[in-house]
Symmetry: C2
Subunit: 535 residues, 2 copies
């Protein structure tokens, strides 16, 4: 069912009637995943024909005659709406009243920009009397509405397309709904990233958190420091992201209302950086001499900060999003601690004693200042919040550790900082698909706190770390489990608290994704009508 | 390294030298997975050029001029040997001494038959003085040798192909090395099955155990009982295996030396059978009346055995293998037990008391007699062995339950029956890829028993049940973990007892599979030189 809104008690009898009709197979009501905030549907249905269906603009858009983001979306969604429609030329024979138009109006004409943290994704969709209208505040909201519209269209047994009379008012529960891909532990070819962006849009995710570099490899080809990838990537030509690759990813994401959040994690997780930037990492010592091994970024040298400033200056330009992820997790102190005499001298000079977390905080503070000067909002992993004394410098904290993650969320919001929750959505861990319910049953606001504090929880993120994931298994490992998280982050909790009611809707959504060519693994025994044509 | 044979101590210094040379990158010695029984390799290498490479016949084969199985294998392996070779026409310019020929001789010319349980897979491969010879007792052994040969060929940095001087004598440790696919819980399209057969051949698996029907669906289109699939399949047209599909699978398997073992599991796991064969299943009762639910196949009616005899007669003809799997696992007694008055009357008449396992044994005995009359060797799941009193009727028992599975293996061989071990290789359970070591560290003969008893352990089987598996995730769920089992079943245990030594070899093998277009998930962080061209 489209609507599970408990506010529609007056519709009870009608709903029951609908149930009866559904049971005898006369009407098939399509569900939308993630569930809209308000969705009322009826048995009245209208036929859609690919030959006579059209998208139209209304209001300001009509005058401008064009909105590149929407024009491209119309092309994509036409193929999604009518998967059986042949690509060849058709003779157009139709009468005026067979025309079905979806007209779109925007409150703000912002077709040339990028989505950002404050972008409204609110939309209203009204399908009635043989036509449909979609209104949104922004073009990004219109994209969400188009997605919902596409999920409402269905085919009957002879292949004709229909949509039921439907009214939707919708907006996301959380503004930040991310997926992290890790392109350092395994290189992911650009088409695999683009395909993931497609699938993200179908589940209304809006942030691609690109954990682009880490210990094993540095695939980002920097124009300021080309040796970082030529020496630090798995292969200097075949396993890198060129500037043009990055632009392609950002553009593909933007067209789907998805932000690209780059992460350049430091001072730990940087082994691969050291290959192309020899002085950057801390040399580890053994018995008074360098052992040949390297630790985290060396926080004692001014050259470190010159390099970082130059690198982040480039990154800030290449990635248009106003957020940047600085990492800061899992810094291994042993190399600093054990013996490096320069590090120890620096510690003494700074009065840090033997508290290496102070050294780490010193480093992060410097990096935070660099990104602040670049007018970027920084995100850090919770480690930084945990050891950093000057928490005022922080903006957004991503909670990732297992255990009582809501305790940590509470600590962060109490400190007045914003939170992104990742802990319960570490999907790189394989598991039987039926544990999708585990990802569904999370509620990020289930902690004691004021309304104002809860508003600091800006969203959540599915993390697909790369130790055991590459392009061979990315898609079935991510989907459909990530879609469970997507509904949690988009929909009203009260309307989506039942796993049992979600199950058939998720199964139906999985079949839709499969038909769109996304390799989504099965939830349980069964089949989809169209399951292997495009996978 | 090709050889880890501890018998070659005299080669120690030479091996050390080779190690040094490898370290400085002059020679790249290719490994073969699963590890051959004997494999000696040298630094001497020969260049192979696609334009001048050829396969040739020797001995009896020369006179016959043709062996369809090998002719087809030559075509497949040519593309595998030279993946960069363009498909267009090349100008052939070469001198006599640039020609490299792999000549093949067979002791028995059996190109027209099917592989069977007694087929020898032994082969000798000798690569020296710029040519190679492969001798095998049977065509199936020759296929194994071709696979090993293909794994020995490598490319240098500029893309030239080489093979090192190598001598291999090889045979499998176990004669039955199977993979079970379940096409009832999810329908697997024929191309997904064929692709799995390709990958099986690369790991030298030799039995495709086709768990073709079960409770959820009956996709096998029987010509004797067409309603079984027209009513029992997920869809009567798109989700069935026609006779021609089945022939295609059997033929594809045969060309790769793989047997196709059909399983028609009964009396449990048969819900889907009941749709097309109304009287077949036991009607369950509640309060003295039929409840509308159905239990296992009804063992009390003679019509049941007439149906089964006709079905198995067809199956015995369609599937050429001399083995047939009868299932017999997990029979739910509740429907028999609770109330069905006819079943209880039958129990009384037969003097079974309240021991429903006697009823089950009665049924299985009838089915065993049917297959015996069809001259098929039957395999049953261990449940049948556990409850069956007349164990003499049994031939092969497949051990699948968790717990002390070697205790069960021991019980079965003590009863003089043959065993296939599946318990430790239930790969449908997802897990991080690094648990491949769990599948590698199994040793099926690690129980107390005589040599004669151990010979009754004919092999092992990887089971990929279908609850959470379909074509979207089959391949990365199966590979490379199944390859770990493959080496355990093919190679000498003493030479393959170290996970640490196996790891880099398995990584290299995974890269080879990836280049051949098999979607094999990664073992850990890293990359392959050619990893995404064909996946």
């Amino acid at each position: 069912m489209c609507s599970e809104n408990p506010g529609y008690n007056t519709l009870l009898n009608y709903t029951f009637l609908l149930f009866i009709i559904q049971q005898i197979g006369l009407v098939k009501v399509q569900s939308v995943w993630p569930l809209p905030q308000t969705c009322i549907t009826s048995t009245e249905r209208y036929q859609l024909k690919p030959q006579t269906f059209s998208f139209g603009y209304r209001g300001q858009l009509t005058e401008q005659h064009s909105c590149s983001v929407l024009d491209a979306a119309f092309k994509r969604y036409f193929s999604i709406l009518f998967p059986d429609y042949p690509s060849g030329n058709d003779t157009l024979q139709f009468t005026e009243n067979e025309v079905f138009t979806l007209t779109i109006s925007l409150d703000h004409h912002d077709c040339e920009g990028y989505p950002n943290q404050d972008s409204s994704e609110r939309y209203k969709l009204n399908v009635f009397a043989g036509r449909a209208s979609l209104n949104a505040e922004t073009v990004w909201g219109a994209l969400r509405g188009l997605e919902s519209f596409s999920q409402l269209v269905y085919q009957d047994d002879v292949g004709s397309y229909y949509i039921n009379k439907t009214y939707i008012e919708d907006f996301p529960q959380f503004k930040y709904r991310g997926i992290l891909l890790d392109t350092s532990r395994h290189y992911l070819p650009v088409p695999a990233i683009l395909k993931t962006l497609d699938a993200m849009a179908y589940s209304k995710f809006n942030v691609f958190h690109w954990h682009i570099v880490d210990d094993p490899s540095f695939p980002y080809q920097s124009h300021t420091f080309p040796e970082l990838s030529s020496k630090g990537a798995f292969h200097p030509v075949t396993h890198i992201y060129t500037q043009s690759d990055v632009r392609r990813v950002i553009s593909h994401a933007r067209m789907r209302g998805i932000r690209v959040l780059p992460e350049f994690d430091s001072p730990g997780h940087t082994k691969s950086w050291g290959k192309g930037q020899p002085e950057l990492l801390t040399p580890c010592y053994r018995g008074g001499n360098p052992s040949g091994a390297f630790g985290p970024v060396n926080p004692t040298l001014s050259s470190t900060y010159q390099f970082m400033a130059a690198l982040f200056k480039e990154v800030a330009t290449v990635f248009p999003d106003s957020y940047i992820h600085l990492g800061g997790d899992e810094v291994d102190f042993s190399c600093w601690y054990v013996s490096n005499p320069y590090v120890r001298a620096f510690m003494q000079k700074m009065g840090f004693g033997l508290d290496f977390s102070k050294l780490e905080a010193f480093y992060i503070e410097k990096i935070l200042n660099i990104t602040l000067a670049l007018r970027k909002t920084s995100i850090v992993w919770q480690d930084v919040f945990d050891y950093h004394e000057r928490r005022k410098s922080l903006s957004v904290v991503e909670v990732w550790k297992q255990g009582c993650y809501l305790c940590e969320v509470r600590r962060v919001v109490k400190a007045g900082l914003r939170v992104i929750l990742a802990s319960p959505w570490y999907l790189d861990q394989p598991g039987p698909t039926h544990n999708w319910a585990r990802y569904y049953n999370v509620w990020p606001l289930a902690f004691k706190g004021s309304e104002k504090q809860k508003q600091l929880v800006i969203g959540g993120e599915v993390c697909l770390w790369g130790e055991y994931v590459d392009a061979t298994n990315l898609s079935p490992r991510l989907w459909p489990r990530a879609s469970a998280a997507a509904e949690r982050l988009w929909s009203n909790e009260k309307q989506t608290s039942s796993v049992d009611r979600a199950f058939p809707r998720l199964q139906e959504f999985r079949c839709k994704l499969l038909r769109r060519g996304i390799q989504v693994e099965p939830l349980y025994v069964g089949y989809c009508k169209h399951e292997y044509q495009s996978v």
